[in-house]
């Protein structure tokens, strides 16, 4: 099993969710986050005060998949979240040791 963490543009969330549903992913976790990468921030002006805002709002999507669905999931996210411009985000993949469904006690891929 693998845990995919994708940082995406906020307005791409619905497309990413749909793309993942199409390949059979049954659940995701979403968090509103801020961060910076290659995309530059912006300047805000409040009367005489000028602030450079480096941290931009992004959405973090976490999705756990069986190892054999990893490539499909990555492709779905990349296709749906991309615009081709700087600021599209990143996808991180880590190995997932165990998954337990709290209600039933199922473990491993059955719990996904």
């Amino acid at each position: 099993m693998k845990l995919i963490t994708a940082i995406i543009r906020p307005f791409k969330l619905d497309e990413v969710r749909e793309a993942l549903s199409e390949i059979g992913v049954s659940g995701i976790t979403v968090t509103e986050v801020k961060g910076f990468g290659r995309q530059k921030g912006h300047t805000e002006l409040y009367r005489g005060a000028e602030y450079v805002v480096d941290f931009l709002p992004k959405i973090k999507v976490e999705v756990a998949v069986p190892s054999d669905r990893l490539d499909a999931a990555i492709e779905a996210i990349q296709q749906s979240a991309g615009t081709g411009k700087i600021g599209d985000g990143k996808i991180f993949v880590v190995a997932l040791e165990q998954v337990i469904r709290i209600r039933t006690g199922e473990v491993g891929p059955d719990a996904l």
Binding site: E44, L45, Y46, R47, G48, A49, Y51, V53
Partner: protein, 530 residues
């Protein structure tokens, strides 16, 4: 007869009460054993009501220096006393004009609405979310504190006869301030209940003190604000109101000699002929200087110019600015003290100057900074409102637009270029907007009030007509003196008051409390669930 002694700022001065209380009481008392001191001239024959009103001064107030109109013709007293008794007994007692009364009561509520919630929201939106309640609370409690002080002694010090700089104690603890007491307007023989004048003026005192808190928001100690407010209100606000607005009322201006005496009994700046229709000096410059001194003495916020200290809710600020504008119609148009053409002029100027200032600030910011901001637009509105305040009923429509436009641009500089020069962390730009806009408005009132520029010019209270001659240069000089007196008085009183607070209850919270936010640290609550 010189212009200086015969004419005065029309509607610039607020009415005193002394004479009017005198006339009502006098009219009643003449039936009894008290001898009314009579003062009168030819007018008596043609207008019995006005004459008796002018002249009757009850014995209880007989301190000669205070009995402004009576004093001037004391020699006539004996000869005319009998006749006057007769006149007074036949004349109907003066009564309040119902239309003016209704209008002023509405205006008083409008001015109160400016502070609560207008100013509170305007300020609250500009601070960080951890401090919004502290600012709302400061506005609410300062308002309430000043309202009570106004009744205890503030009104008396501001609006009863005293010397040129401060009033007396005739109305201490609101003595004699009952439903039957009358206050003057700017027209002879037209009165409003003194209680209405009391609350209208009280609302001004409240917002002036509340304005100051914006300058040291986000780090000031709550108790410090309250102690400062008591000292500053007593020694800066009440004398300024007295100096600028106190005069013995139009009824005292019966002829040249009476006018000279009445002017001599007026506030220092009123007697000089300084024009301040609705409080550019008393309210805005006064509060702004206090704020600036406070910003220096309290010191900058932790992280100022190092961390991003951003407004947390500019929607609130926009709503607050809009409420301020709405309430300001009462502030400016109500300052005519009557529901008449002057009030209408002030109303329209409040509409136009503000709009011109919004456009000017927005254009300036758009050109200089690249983007027209919402905060800039709202700030422009307040700058325009501040600038038109002293001029509201005195300038023409085109003058108002010009005044507003100039204020929009100059106040934009006030919160950017000037702020850098001054170096103080005036959190919400009280000086940049109210100080700069107030000074600009006060000085430019001297320009745009000129009849040649569509203004109303000066007013002759004796003949109740406008004065033809008007010198822009000399009026601007008088206006400048008004500004100077305000800056000096408020500056000195503020500095002393802040020092007293600093070494007694303390002026600012400790750094941990400031980091945590005043809402939690000082008030034990949070505005928002995150």
């Amino acid at each position: 007869m010189t212009t200086a002694t015969l004419t005065g700022p029309r509607a610039a001065a607020r009415t005193p009460v002394h004479t009017l209380r005198a006339l009502l009481l006098g009219a009643l008392l003449t039936f009894g054993a008290f001898g009314a001191i009579a003062q009168d001239t030819a007018a008596q024959d043609t207008d019995a009501t006005a004459a008796s009103a002018d002249t009757a001064v009850p014995a209880e107030m007989a301190a000669p220096a205070e009995a402004a109109p009576a004093e001037t013709t004391a020699e006539a007293v004996a000869a005319e006393a009998a006749a006057d008794d007769a006149d007074a007994s036949q004349a109907p007692a003066p009564s309040a004009d119902k239309g003016d009364t209704a209008w002023l009561m509405v205006c008083a509520a409008l001015v109160i609405f400016m502070t609560l919630p207008g100013l509170a929201l305007f300020y609250g939106g500009m601070v960080r979310s951890k401090n919004v309640l502290s600012v709302l609370m400061q506005c609410l409690v300062v308002f309430s504190l000043v309202a009570v002080l106004w009744a205890l002694y503030g009104y008396s010090l501001a609006f009863t006869p005293g010397n040129a700089f401060i009033g007396g104690f005739d109305r201490l603890f609101a003595k004699g301030l009952d439903a039957s007491a009358l206050g003057a307007t700017f027209t002879k023989g037209v009165y409003i209940p003194e209680l209405v004048f009391f609350i209208f003026q009280g609302a001004f005192a409240c917002i002036t003190c509340a304005l100051i808190v914006g300058a040291f928001a986000e780090r000031v100690k709550f108790a410090g604000v309250l102690v400062f407010t008591v000292i500053w209100f007593t020694f800066a606000y009440t004398p300024m109101a007295h100096m600028v607005w106190f005069f013995p009322g139009p009824d005292a201006f019966t002829d040249a000699d009476a006018a000279a005496a009445a002017t001599a009994a007026s506030g220092y700046l009123w007697a000089k002929g300084a024009l301040d229709f609705a409080g550019g000096t008393v309210v805005h410059i006064n509060a702004a200087v206090a704020g600036l001194v406070g910003a220096y003495v309290v010191g900058p916020r932790v992280g100022y110019r190092k961390e991003a200290i951003k407004p947390h809710n500019l929607t609130q600020t926009m709503v607050g600015a809009a409420i301020l504008w709405f309430g300001w119609f009462g502030f400016n148009a109500g300052s005519a003290l009557e529901a008449n053409g002057v009030a209408a002029l002030a109303l329209v100027n409040t509409f136009l100057a503000t709009s011109a200032a919004v456009l000017a600030w927005t254009a300036a910011e758009w050109i200089v900074r690249g983007k027209p901001s919402m905060l800039g637009g709202a700030s422009g509105a307040v700058a325009g409102l501040v600038a038109i305040t002293p001029a509201a009923g005195l300038v023409g429509l085109m003058g108002a637009i010009a005044l507003g436009a100039i204020a929009g641009v100059v106040c934009f500089w006030g919160v950017s270029g000037l702020k850098k020069l001054l170096g103080a962390d005036d959190s919400l730009d009280v000086f940049g907007v109210h100080g700069v806009g107030g000074i600009l408005g006060a000085v430019l009132t001297g320009v745009f009030a000129a009849p040649a520029l569509g203004g109303a010019g000066l007013w002759d209270y004796v003949t109740e007509t406008g004065v033809a001659e008007y010198s822009i240069a000399s009026q601007v000089w008088i206006q400048f003196q008004g500004v100077l007196v305000t800056v000096l008085l408020s500056g000195v009183v503020s500095l002393v008051a802040f020092m007293i607070v600093k070494y007694t209850v303390g002026l600012r919270v400790n750094e941990d409390a400031e980091r945590e936010g005043l809402d939690i640290a000082s008030h034990g609550e949070a505005a928002y669930e995150h």
